[in-house]
Amino acid sequence: MKKELTTEQKITRRTLISFSVFILAAILFVLGWKWLNNAPKEQPGATAGLRSPVRKVLDGNETLFRKVFSDKNLVKTYPKSAAARNVRVNGNVGLKQPVDTINWRLKVLKNNGDTLRITMADIRKLPKTELIFDFKCIEGWSQVTHWGGVKLIDFVSYYHLEKEAAMEYISLVTPDQQYYVGIDMASALHPQTLLCYEMNDKELPLNQGYPLRLIIPVKYGIKSLKRIGTLSFSKERPKDYWAERGYDYYSGL
């Protein structure tokens, strides 16, 4: 027969066991954290800059969000009086060269290899939509701003881009190719996504992307590319300026 432990022995025994497990768990946690911080960097592609497992979680979040969330939610809109007069300017990548106003064309690359070259006059002929919403920057600030332009979905149907729109992603690139974004098609065709040429009822200023920019309220501002040069469509994720710098590709709100 085993002799029963005294209280003192029981205390020592249980304390030892519990603290061993505790210290072991703490060590495992620290090792896990170190591993995560030293895990191989992701293969640079449409996204870059993060540790591979971390990027996998962000991409997993996107998959989950896109599955459970609706693309039909409308962004809250405001009366004109709520719109800011001094609109914040953040970033000028892709805007450094002068704009050739006379020869300016929006290039749209079609699936069959054709390229549409569309003038601003043609774009202005399409039905205009105005949008006053709380523009949200990934930095954490937001501002109610007033924009005008053509809904991307209207543009797509006017130029018969249905086949292209059946693909997964849309890509926008500035004329100098310095700034570029990729957007999932559902968000691009959201009824509040605009090819925008007006701000506060006036032509877009140069620093806001004159003559044509994107306004996509279901994404952080990083996706609202200023000064669109080329619009194209793809099955795979197009390259994306900020996703290459460690940000979430989806960046959906």
Partner: protein, 242 residues
């Protein structure tokens, strides 16, 4: 005579110790995010006496220009924070332990007595079961705060999908401020918690790792035999602090 008295169940101990590093990572990555738009400060009558955060703080902890990194950690560990918190609440409900945690009608009055006692102003020990009134309030408040962090966090992370949450929080920028204020709340809680744990001593600290406390009972002739036998139900006993 010394004997062992069970205090914290294994589940509670795991929830507690998982939450600690996860919350630490959430706070740290949250600061990396906050840096990109560090607009909060406390100003009274024109005097700015607290700035979140001063330049030396960012420098010391190497906070600057790490927004993307901060976001990636934040949106990775948010799952652990939420799941661990959810399981903890579920556990306290199923086990019935919530009864020892949720403040009762008298708790707010008693909490005052606890405070006076802790500050050595009042001699008599206020009544308590596993937790005293102040602890009940604190440990319940921290869970409500956790829920608040999830709600305000969701509101600023997905404001289009959860526009009703944004509304509930009083708007997008207010939701961000609330999310930040709650974090400051955790830090304050942590400071008080650490001080209390240090003051309560080794026996108390050990119990959150081992699960038991060692109590001294008077000799068998005068002691209540019940307190010796009861090793499973801490709820029926007079507990020590923390």
């Amino acid at each position: 005579m010394k004997h062992i008295r069970e205090k914290h169940s294994l589940a509670i101990r795991w929830f507690h110790w998982i939450n600690f590093p996860v919350l630490a990572i959430m706070i740290w990555s949250g600061i990396l995010i906050y840096w990109a738009n560090d607009e909060y400060h406390i100003t009274i009558a024109g005097n700015r006496f607290l700035v979140f955060f001063p330049e030396w703080f960012y420098k010391t902890f190497k906070i600057s220009f790490r927004l993307a990194e901060g976001m990636s950690w934040h949106f990775m560990f948010m799952w652990l924070f939420a799941i661990n918190g959810f399981l903890y609440v579920l556990y306290t409900i199923i086990s019935g332990e919530w009864r020892l945690l949720v403040p009762g009608r008298r708790s707010f009055k008693e909490a005052w007595q606890v405070l006076l006692h802790d500050l050595h102003i009042r001699k008599t020990v206020p009544p308590q079961k596993k937790y005293n009134a102040a602890q009940r309030i604190a440990y319940t408040a921290i869970i409500v705060m956790g829920l608040g962090s999830l709600i305000t966090g969701l509101a600023i992370h997905k404001p289009v999908q959860f526009n009703w949450l944004v509304y509930l929080c009083g708007g997008y920028s207010l939701a961000r401020l609330e999310h930040f204020a709650l974090t400051i709340g955790y830090v304050l809680f942590f400071l008080v918690h650490i001080i209390q744990v240090i003051l309560a001593g080794w026996n108390n600290f050990r119990s959150v790792i081992t699960g038991f406390e060692v109590v001294d009972s008077p000799g068998s002739s005068t002691g209540n035999p019940l307190t010796k036998i009861q090793t499973q139900k801490p709820s029926n006993e007079e507990g020590t602090n923390n």
